[in-house]
Assembly symmetry: C2
Homo-oligomer: 258 residues x 2
């Protein structure tokens, strides 16, 4: 994260808090924690490497704006994208937990993040209960997304896989109130889809063609027109349960007074 510029906003944006509090009920406690720990934003421009595999890292990033890819380069020029982070997602928790990162973090668009310094995890966990539960939740959800990706890569064909990831992105954008029409503005090119889905670029083209021929969508540069989202979900066998919109009720945190 070399060339960063500090944001002009000194405090956590309201909209980000809204996004997060949709997930975490203890708004005051979490908000207080975040204001204390993530007091300034950092801007990164599209294409920047935020974190490289193997690099040591000491902060967690809370995404406020933009798309970030977590990816690994494999021997022979290949690349696998393991997940896509959107506003409201945390980045780099594993890198902090385990000292070094297994993956590269790449800003796919211009990005705004709130870095949270983590000296020792236990101190953090003790003193900032709101953030601790947020991270626990985020990591659990991340794990669910990855498990679903494993299912896709292992047991769904190209058409199902592509339809599935599009459905996932649609629902995740809706969750953070970023999608209001059938026009899905997506900064990914077909090569990115290929590296998410474990396919060749050319096969991704053909698979988009198939979905187009089925009347489900229309692919354009920088976007997809969603013509039949239910059809997409049907063909993908998409069930949004794994996105875990909320914690179980009795796991919701109590006010910090305790």
């Amino acid at each position: 994260m070399d060339k960063v510029t500090y944001g002009d906003e000194l405090f956590m944006t309201k909209s980000l808090l809204a996004k997060i509090s949709g997930f975490f009920p203890l708004e005051q406690e979490l908000e207080a924690d975040l204001r204390k720990l993530a007091f300034r934003s950092v801007k990164l421009s599209a294409g920047q490497t935020i974190l490289s595999a193997g690099e040591k890292y000491k902060q967690v990033l809370l995404v406020d704006e933009g798309w970030v890819l977590r990816q690994r380069h494999v021997g022979g020029g290949g690349r696998q994208i393991v997940n896509v982070a959107l506003p409201g997602d945390f980045l780099g928790f594993n890198a902090v937990l385990f000292d070094t990162s297994d993956f590269d973090l790449i800003a796919k668009t211009d990005v705004v993040v709130y870095p949270i310094e983590i000296q020792t995890i236990d101190k953090l966990m003790e003193r900032h209960r709101g953030l601790a539960s947020a991270l626990t939740w985020a990591n659990g959800r991340e794990e669910s997304l990855l498990a679903e990706r494993v299912v896709s890569l292992g047991r769904r064909d190209a058409t199902e896989r592509l339809a599935h990831i599009i459905c996932e992105i649609v629902v995740r954008l809706q969750l953070i109130d970023r999608l209001h029409s059938t026009r899905l503005n997506i900064p990914l090119i077909q090569e990115d889809f290929a590296d998410i889905l474990g396919l060749s670029v050319i096969h991704v083209t053909r698979t988009f063609r198939r979905l187009t021929d089925l009347g489900l969508l229309a692919y354009r540069r920088n976007g997809i027109d969603l013509l039949d989202i239910d059809g997409l979900k049907r063909i993908a066998g998409f069930d949004d349960a794994y996105l875990h919109f909320s914690l179980r009720k009795d796991a919701r945190m109590r006010p910090s007074a305790s």
Copy 2:
């Protein structure tokens, strides 16, 4: 978890504590927590369903003995195994966190687990710091394993994938001191490998044949002879970093006195 028999051992076995404390340095605190929360063992027999997808669940299981598969049935009779739990691993944390499970948990061998009741997660996190950090660590590591599986499924061919999962299992067994020779006793059949690797059974057969012809291993029912583990690692592009043998040093928890 219908037909369970209660273990005759009333307390956590020493060997399990040893396994876990290899990962978690704060032995006394964790041990105290575990003794309090996981005071009796439960035995399950091979083939039993421990937990079904969609089922509500209120306890985390700490595996003491045996192999457990976390899997999902997909439309059309298929199955994807997302991971394999070995002694020392925690099960069902996500199911507890999110109220219901996304996956089935199947005992592949006879299994002994220590159930840990979780009323509310925040209480647990507050009162049992040792366990809280263990779960945080376990979930993070789980996430790393899944990310690596995504890389395998997305960008490695059948031979690399098979070699890779064998390497992973070998190293994980060594970590818990369960492998002392070149004989790898493994309760998985080729169909299980197929459903882990996203391949057909027949292709798994062919791929074992290829590894055999390369002089790397010999497959038998109930086991694999490891003839050239370094060769396997080489062909798989296996780097054990993602297994995260230990937490970063300054993340190690302090005594609970605080």
